[in-house]
């Protein structure tokens, strides 16, 4: 079967430094220009196109990249990823309304809170594997939502209202309806996340995660401190989710426990699996499609979720590894005595 991923990798590898920079800059420019393409076939019929770009699309992409570290790289099934998103959002909500801190100051705090809860969840949960881990994380996601639903300080079912927008930087002002500004902000975070994942994947940590995913016992017996790496994967995944949460809260200006249901965890998981577990470009593509599609086919009105489900089922049957599967091409064998 035609392999889009390999084709892409081939083009990338055939380029020199200049070519690669050109491709990267070009790609970023096209993606950054997406808000201006609302008039084209890309337009979403009912929802505002630019707002769809921010949420769900860009937000899903960011979260999918984060979840991919946990599921795709290290093979740990996390069904409660929404918890970190919620923790980031509530950190923003609380600090944004109760203190003078602005979004940019809260962002690192929100990330730190999410990472910290990643440790709280990870240390006991990661002693377990497979199904058991999945169930614990599922429970964790629900606990966070239920705590938010019952804790007076978090506004119970009313949630938190009047969360401030980010203050302007470099003369760019954030209004709640200036979607493209939020979109570009998220784009920067996405680029940072991509950079982080690509850097780590190519080195020691990436190989350790990979070995854990493929055979954890063998990894441990050959000297990989598996527990440490699993907690790291959790914590890094959580940091990305937390960052997404902070921006989400200061975009919607209002958050409630209903925004953080299990459905989000499942959707992000679907993005990762649909796009191609373990391959960051696949995961991004998956998140774009799954974020965009329900709004694009909104003209089908009630049938759109049916079609959406059908696409998922078909896709998983035809390409179980996702649209852009995990890399694994081999270079040609170079025989030493080849003449």
């Amino acid at each position: 079967m035609f392999n889009l991923r390999d084709k892409g990798a081939e083009i990338w590898e055939s380029q020199g430094r200049v070519g690669r920079v050109a491709i990267a800059v070009g790609a970023i420019a096209i993606v950054a220009a997406l808000p201006f393409m609302g008039g084209t076939f890309l337009n979403t019929p009912v929802a505002d196109y630019e707002s769809v770009l921010v949420y769900p699309i860009a937000m899903f992409v960011l979260m999918a990249i984060g979840l991919n570290i946990v599921i795709g790289k290290s093979g740990l099934l996390d069904l409660g990823y929404v918890a970190f998103f919620a923790i980031g959002a509530y950190t923003m909500g609380l600090l944004g309304t109760k203190t003078d801190l602005n979004t940019w100051e809260i962002l690192p705090i929100g990330i730190a809170m999410a990472m910290f809860s990643g440790i709280i969840l990870g240390v006991p949960a990661l002693k377990l594997r497979g199904d058991y881990l999945a169930i614990i994380t599922l429970g964790f996601g629900e606990i966070v939502r239920i705590v938010a639903l019952n804790l007076g300080a978090l506004g119970r079912s009313e949630g938190i209202q009047g969360i401030p927008t980010p203050p302007g930087i470099f003369g760019i002002e954030y209004a709640f309806d200036s979607h493209r500004i939020y979109y570009w902000t998220l784009l920067i975070l996405i680029l940072l996340a991509i950079w982080m994942v690509r850097r780590l994947s190519a080195r020691r940590a990436g190989r350790a995660w990979e070995s854990i995913r493929q055979d954890e016992d063998a990894a441990e017996l050959l000297g990989v401190p598996t527990f440490k790496y699993k907690v790291w994967a959790f914590v890094l995944g959580a940091s990305v989710g937390g960052a997404a949460g902070v921006i989400y809260a200061s975009k919607t200006l209002f958050i409630a426990p209903d925004n953080f249901t299990l459905q989000i965890s499942i959707l992000i998981l679907a993005c990762v699996v649909f796009g191609g577990m373990g391959n960051i470009w696949g995961v991004i593509l998956g998140a774009v499609i799954l974020g965009y599609l329900p709004d694009r086919i909104r003209f089908l009105s009630d049938a759109r979720l049916l079609v959406f489900g059908l696409v998922l089922v078909l896709m998983m049957n035809l390409r179980p590894d996702g649209i852009l599967p995990r890399k694994k091409r081999e270079k040609a064998i170079v025989k030493k005595d080849a003449s």
Partner: protein, 258 residues
């Protein structure tokens, strides 16, 4: 032959009512090739599993390099200098041969996640050095040309050898080989025997489990025989071969003997 690198003292391993190892004691001397043989179910692989920390022993003591291994985490045992291969190949199939060896060296690395993220010089230097070392090991074991191939796509014999190279990647003092010749043809076995000797000559100590008698007898300096979890012989290959208890364990007793 002088000091022991590893010493098992009265090691007993029980699973419920089953005694997999009963009061087994032996040692492996530095720079020695010790063959560990015995019929199926004798407890050979259990010996590997208790040394590497897969199982915690019921009683007894295992001393490695002067220190007890009791309660030490698995990856830390590897860090102290024990590495093993698996009887049923357990390579990381989706990684290249080179990556397999590089990953096993993880325990000895100093550069952390953060320096990897920002590409600090220590991380880059280490990466470069590990890569060179891994390639050296693959060359040493005779499969250097396969370094860029995915482990799962390698021919069976190469996978077996890669298991050894990967274990050596963990920079062990003691190398545990679990049936490295399983499924090999006679020519490959001869080659493997030479490789094992070469590994010893490079300064490693080898504990070898193997079913193929001719291979064990040829490469081992000393042979320990297990039967039903008991040690029944511990001697030079020649003497073990003539030991009536060993012959009995393998072939059974003639009916009129008792």
């Amino acid at each position: 032959m002088s000091t022991s690198l590893i010493e098992l003292k009265n090691v007993t391993m029980k699973f419920g009512g089953v005694t997999a190892l009963g009061d087994v004691s032996f040692d492996v001397k530095e720079k020695e090739i010790l063959g560990l043989i015995g019929p199926n179910g004798a407890g050979k692989t259990t010996v590997f599993n208790v040394i590497t920390g897969v199982y915690q022993i019921t009683s007894g003591e295992i001393i490695f390099d002067g220190k007890s291994l009791a309660g030490v985490k698995r990856y830390k045992i590897t860090k102290r200098g024990v590495a093993r291969t698996f009887q049923n190949i357990r390579l990381w199939g989706d990684m290249t041969a080179l990556e397999n060896v590089m990953t096993a060296a993880d325990t000895h690395k100093k550069s952390g996640l953060v320096s990897g993220l920002f590409g600090f010089p220590i991380s880059r230097r280490e990466e470069k050095r590990d890569k060179a070392r891994a390639q050296e090991l693959l060359d040493f074991i005779g499969i250097g040309e396969y370094s860029d191939r995915l482990a799962k796509n390698l021919p069976y014999g190469v996978q077996r050898r890669l298991e050894i190279a990967r274990a050596m990647g963990a920079e062990p003092k003691l190398l545990l080989l679990d049936e490295p010749a399983a499924g090999f043809n006679p020519a490959e076995k001869v080659e493997l025997a030479a490789t094992i000797r070469k590994i010893r000559d490079a300064g490693y100590t080898v504990l070898l489990i193997e079913h193929d008698m001719s291979l064990v007898m040829k490469v081992s300096d000393r042979v320990v025989v297990l039967d039903f979890g008991q040690k029944i012989a511990d001697d030079s290959p020649r003497k073990v071969q003539d030991d009536p208890r060993v012959i009995e364990a393998y072939l059974g007793v003639p009916e009129d003997a008792s």
